[in-house]
């Protein structure tokens, strides 16, 4: 270490080291993320778009495309459905096209 750094006030030195570490962290994080920022942001945007579509589709008069596919889930749900509608306080199935007991 040079004499200069020995004379320096400890608070100054700490601040300088802190600034240097902050700079190093900035470079490391940029180096990690910059290359793939686009790909990851795009993936997130796609998910958000899908979510928006599901939330607002009925509102915009577009039939929810997911509803159609949930039909496939019916056999899997059937066993749990009876207990579910009882717990929800309904004696019979509330859905016209989903019969139960």
């Amino acid at each position: 270490m040079s004499e200069h750094s020995n004379d320096e006030h400890p608070v100054d030195r700490r601040a300088r080291i802190k600034a240097w570490l902050g700079q190093a962290r900035f470079y490391a994080e940029e180096f990690y993320s910059a290359r793939y920022r686009g790909a990851i942001a795009r993936a997130q945007r796609d998910e958000d778009d899908l979510f928006m579509l599901m939330v607002f589709s009925e509102l915009m008069g577009v039939p929810n495309p997911v509803a159609y596919y949930t039909l496939e889930l019916q056999p899997l749900m059937l066993e749990r459905f009876h207990d579910w509608h009882r717990r929800m306080g309904m004696e019979k199935s509330p859905l016209d096209d989903f019969r139960c007991c």
């Binding site: 180096f31 990690y32 793939y36 686009g38």
Partner: protein, 558 residues
């Protein structure tokens, strides 16, 4: 002759070129303007267009372009002696690669950050654009096949590296999760990653895993190639943050550490150049140095692959136009430094000329194995590391680079197949899994096509270099046409372009003859395909330049 002298001559030359020649190119030819509003600012969207710190961008540009290719090419080309390879790497970096990379960045930045392929369509014409797609596909196909063969060869020859090479993938997977789930900060993660990787390298020699010579009727080499492509196919389908991003990060750190270790050991040991300056006594069957030298060393002297990186991603992130000089030119210099290290390792890292000649007993031999063994000799004698540990270190470095290029290459090839599925209305081809299968299949055909044990890959190395140079030629054509339209000096890009075209066509003709004489009809056909592409490129060049000159002539009259 001492290796340090060569090292400093090379580094000094490239440094001088960066300070003088690149300044001239940037100010007088491309006229980079720090006030020009770059696409990163104009279209800033937080996704693709993000103004990025120039040192960060340089780091990305450098680590994306510096892979296994600047190691393999020079390490094969020293068979003609170290001087020709040295001169081509130094002068190629200065007058070809640096100008090409800066030019590709400039051309893309001045055209709303379009990729070089799209630019070819706009600046040169639709036909040239289709040609560009075909050449890219050929480059990717060859690079995947070659690197599969290279890694398999390394894993057969250096079994101590098997555990660290595959362990590194596990390390990357863990790091990816740690960062993604924000469990600990990046500084600590980097430290853990590097320590874990080097820990694996140190324990590697004590647990070597040797693939048997024969497994189920197939050579061990072929088994490794199949495993590698299986891995690359899976890796290319994973989301980028799972494996690609953390592994690239670790690779980048490893590249810097590896270069420092290799150069440090060279300076401490100061070995003498063992290989002849110019090899008068080349093994039988070695092709003529002109034109083959200029396609054997592609990356490290000039490579079209850089244009893809420059145009596709770097140009969208350039903060100021003047940064193109650091990112493009100095990125190329960085790669030249790696190639220089490879040359020195493969020529000075041997105890005697007999050892060296035994390594280079035929054309295409030596290569990356010579780099690893020579480099290990230098590191173990210079820094006192055990030789197997040093060899493991360099094998891991080369294998990780090649592996990264492989799965990026497969991903890009998959996109091309998916695009073709879109164009030709083939629903099945648009599915990622099917497109990946097609990509892997075509690479395997190439790797096994020339030899049942998968040794065919290395035979196509010069063909890969040729195709890569063609790609560089197309990029230089785009830049030249733009310069002529602006009335700027064109010889600084047209000169390299003409040189490349002549050398690639000559190299293809030479190889055509040798494939025919060897009765290797598979490679013969491939050679003809590339030859047709290169003639088409040459004709496109002539037509485009003629048209542009006519345009400017009518403009002058009107």
């Amino acid at each position: 002759m001492s290796a340090i002298v060569i090292l400093f001559l090379g580094l000094g030359g490239m440094a001088l070129a960066y300070f003088l020649y690149s300044k001239f190119i940037a100010e007088k030819v491309f006229r980079l303007d720090s006030k020009f509003r770059t696409p990163a600012h104009e279209f800033e969207d937080g996704i693709d267009f993000v103004p990025t710190n120039r040192y960060v961008l340089w780091g990305h540009h450098f680590t994306s372009v510096a892979g296994a290719a600047p190691i393999v090419g020079p390490a094969i080309a020293v068979i003609w002696g170290w001087l020709p390879a040295f001169l081509w790497v130094v002068f190629g970096t200065i007058f070809f690669a640096g100008v090409h990379d800066t030019g590709a960045l400039w051309a893309s930045v001045r055209n709303r950050a379009k990729s070089v392929g799209a630019l070819t369509g706009d600046v040169v014409g639709k036909r040239a654009r289709s040609l560009f797609m075909v050449v890219i596909f050929l480059v990717l196909l060859m690079v995947n096949a070659v690197f599969g063969v290279v890694i398999a060869g390394l894993l057969m020859r250096f079994p101590s590296a098997v555990v660290p090479v595959w362990g590194a993938i596990a390390v990357a997977l863990v790091i990816g999760q740690l960062i993604y789930r924000r469990i600990i900060g990046l500084a600590l993660v980097s430290l853990i990653g590097v320590v874990a990787l080097y820990g694996l390298i140190i324990i590697g020699p004590s647990m070597p895993l040797q693939m048997p010579d024969q497994v189920a009727g197939l050579p061990g080499n072929a088994i490794w190639i199949l495993i590698l492509f299986g891995y690359a196919a899976i890796a290319s389908l994973l989301p980028v943050w799972v494996l690609l991003q953390p592994r690239d990060y670790i690779n980048g750190l490893q590249l810097f550490i590896g270069l420092i270790i290799l150069y440090g050991a060279l300076v401490i040991l100061n070995p003498a150049m063992v290989a002849p300056m110019i090899n008068d006594n080349v093994p039988a069957g070695t092709p003529s140095i002109i034109p083959l030298l200029f396609v054997t060393i592609a990356c490290g002297a000039i490579s079209g692959f850089h244009g893809l990186v420059a145009g596709g991603t770097s140009s969208k992130q350039l903060d100021k136009e003047t940064d193109a000089r650091l990112v493009g030119y100095f990125g190329a210099v960085g790669e030249g430094m790696l190639a220089l290290g490879a040359i020195l390792a493969a020529t000075a890292g041997f105890a005697s000329l007999t050892d060296w000649s035994a390594m280079y007993d035929a054309f295409g031999k030596g290569g990356v194995n010579a780099f690893v063994e020579g480099g290990a000799y230098i590191i173990s004698n210079g820094l006192g590391l055990p030789e197997t540990t040093a060899a493991t270190l360099l094998t891991v470095m080369a294998a990780l680079f090649a592996g990264t290029t492989m799965d990026t290459g497969l991903r890009l090839q998959r996109y091309i197949f998916q695009e073709w599925g879109e164009i030709y209305q083939q629903q099945w081809m648009k599915k990622p899994a099917m497109a990946t299968l097609l990509a892997v299949g075509s690479c395997l055909i190439l790797a096994f096509g020339a030899g049942a044990d998968g040794s065919g890959g290395l035979l196509i190395w010069p063909l890969f270099g040729t195709t890569n140079q063609l790609l560089a030629g197309l990029t230089l054509l785009v830049v030249t046409v733009m310069l002529v339209r602006l009335g700027r000096p064109m010889w600084f890009t047209l000169g390299p372009l003409l040189f490349l075209l002549v050398m690639t066509v000559l190299a293809l003709l030479t190889q055509l003859r040798s494939f025919y004489e060897a009765g290797n009809y598979f490679l013969l056909v491939l050679d003809i395909v590339v030859l047709i592409a290169s003639i088409l490129v040459a004709m496109e060049c002539a037509a485009a330049l003629k048209r542009v000159r006519r345009e400017s002539a009518t403009k002058a009259e009107g």
